[in-house]
């Protein structure tokens, strides 16, 4: 064999060796990749958050992990995309949100809060974080990847905290902030049928506190609150505005209704006084003001008038008792 042939053989051997080395490395990488795939599949299965890949063009979810089924319980009827399960109020914001994701650079993400319907018809709040996943040749995002965290418990706690800031701890009625928020909204309602605001102020409350102690004072406040609640209809708002001041907003009421309300309350208080066995009596002064049907009466205005009316009553009562 000549040296040219030998050189050719050597070259072929070298090429063969390189191919075998490449095949070895490929096998190693494949095994490594299979390992990573297994790892990722496990992680996705263990994730408490919904993970999904959304195809923007077909508007379908190409992938959803097990948490989707675990959290929502739709079985096989989960819809083609999360959007189909979205609360209507959130679904209208979805296109704008997807457009925002599509405008993101790789590595960036946006946040989006939304509700999804569970299999049983209830709603579940999610915090979604979504990012570009795949782009076409021109760089346009065609798929997104998202993680949706169940924030139902968080939302619940948030609303409990909100309640706490709007509620009077002693009586369980709305506090002044809670009353103003709810009453203001009721009055702004253009379809309002009018409303009556009744102000109630306990008389001689300071004496109860001073002679029988704060515990008895609290008992008086709680009793008055309970009687007020008994005296309201669904849709009426009862509140402790502070100290011994209470208010009721009776929807759809006029001056007559307000007077009846005050009288009924007086009767309930008398009843309570007879049965209480306490060495003190609940007494009160009430005044009211009316917001006419269809009008746009500011709450502050209504409150000021009712307050004034109540003080007029109180002054009259004092003069009467002083004169007696």
């Amino acid at each position: 064999m000549g040296s040219a042939e030998e050189a050719l053989l050597d070259e072929l051997s070298r090429i063969n060796s390189e191919l075998v080395n490449a095949r070895r490395e490929l096998s190693r990488l494949n095994a490594e990749l299979a390992d990573k795939e297994r790892f990722l599949a496990r992680v996705l299965e263990l994730s408490p958050d919904i993970v999904y890949v959304h195809d923007i063009r077909s508007r379908t979810d190409e992938y959803r992990n097990r948490a989707f089924e675990d959290l929502l319980g739709h079985g096989d009827r989960g819809g083609a995309s999360l959007e189909e399960l979205m609360h209507p109020d959130d679904a209208v914001r979805r296109p704008a949100h997807l457009a925002a994701v599509a405008a993101l650079p790789d590595g960036a993400e946006t946040h989006f809060e939304f509700r999804l319907r569970r299999g049983d018809g209830s709603w579940c709040w999610f915090l979604g974080r979504e990012a570009p996943f795949l782009r076409d040749g021109s760089g346009a995002v065609i798929k997104t990847v998202g993680v949706a965290e169940d924030i139902g418990p968080l939302k619940e706690r948030e609303s409990r905290l909100l309640d706490a800031s709007l509620t009077d701890v002693l009586t369980g009625l709305r506090n002044r902030r809670g009353f103003e928020a709810a009453a203001g909204e009721a009055l702004r309602d253009a379809r309002s049928r009018g409303a009556a605001l009744v102000y109630v102020d306990l008389d001689r409350f300071k004496e109860i506190n001073d002679r029988y102690g704060h515990a008895e004072g609290d008992t008086a406040l709680k009793a008055a609150a309970a009687l007020l609640v008994r005296n309201t209809r669904d849709g009426d708002l009862a509140a402790r505005l502070g100290g011994d001041e209470f208010a009721i907003l009776a929807r759809g009421g006029d001056g007559e209704a307000a007077q009846r309300l005050a009288e009924r309350f007086g009767a309930l208080v008398d009843e309570w006084n007879l049965a209480s066995g306490k060495p003190w009596k609940l007494c009160f002064s009430a005044g009211w003001a009316v917001a006419p049907r269809g009008g746009q009466t500011p709450l502050a205005d209504l409150m000021a008038r009712a307050d004034e009316a109540m003080y007029a009553v109180k002054r009259g009562r004092r003069q009467a008792s002083d004169g007696a």
Binding site: S3, L12, S17, E18, V20, R28, A31, D35
Partner: protein, 362 residues
Amino acid sequence: MTSEGDASRPSGLSIAELALRADTVARDALSVLDGAVPGSACSGDPDSRAHCLADLAHHVRYLAQAARSPGDGALEDYLAWLKALFDRLGFRDGGVIASFRAVGAAAAPLLEAGARAAFLRVTETAAADYPRAGGKGNRYLAGHIEGNAAAGAYLSALLEGKRELALGVAESLAAGGQPVRDLYARLWRPAQRELGRLWHLGEISVAQEHYATAATQYIISSFYPRLFSASRSGGPTLLAACAQGERHEMGLRMIADWFQAEGWDTRYLGADLPVRDLVAEVERVRPDVVALSATLSANVPWIEAAIAALRSEERTRGLPVMVGGIPFMVSPELWRAVGADGCASDFEEAVRAAEGLARRAS
């Protein structure tokens, strides 16, 4: 390794530098031969002169490496290898001895005094020992597959050019429940060794040897998907590389495969890396052990340079390096001389040594 040439550099080459000029020295040696042995084989047609030149350059490289290797093993092995080959080709001892002396004569004027004495000692020993080289038990002539029917059938298939049949032998062993690892020990290693012996004896052609080697590599590679998917373990990492340009990279690759089967994560880099690329790759992979191999002793300087480069980098300095290959087998102290931490020449021994090195390093 002996340091030839210090700061106050005497005139003349070191032995390492001589090896780099092997082709020049070979041409000088050919002139010496022409003058000393008129009508020798080397003075014939251009083709045989070219072969003769190649042989002389080969002598220069191997004798130089033998001069630099501790002990007599390297020289003895080279002479045994040469004797087995040249006897078969019908070369007379006298001509071979003359060529050793010619190499010595051509090299002497180039070398610095100390190196000259060392090199001439080697050429003279070679000339004196060649006729008895290898003895009766020349290891290049001992068989490897007696009593191993599977390996016998496998090798016969390859020598007849029937690759698919050989693949079938391997597949049927695997199908019979042999772990892939055992195919290395029972089939591929003995077949490769026997192949080397048959080539040496002249019983097969170079083309047959190349074909069979390539076919075995291909067959082994068809088992790689199984090897790698079956051996995920998160075990220690081995990074293996052959000396750049080394033609015989199959042995180290098979050892790396064996490590893989033993639960190591292995990277095999082949024989194409310049030293600096090797160092960069070691820095990137951060293996537990680096394995370097040379089959031809002419490639030992690359290993020496690679180890020196690894030791000079902060990030790779502490990594254990083991070496292997024939030069380290025939000269048992050579691994220390090149600065390695360990040496192994066989599957099982290599894994044991690497485990020890990895433990010590961690």
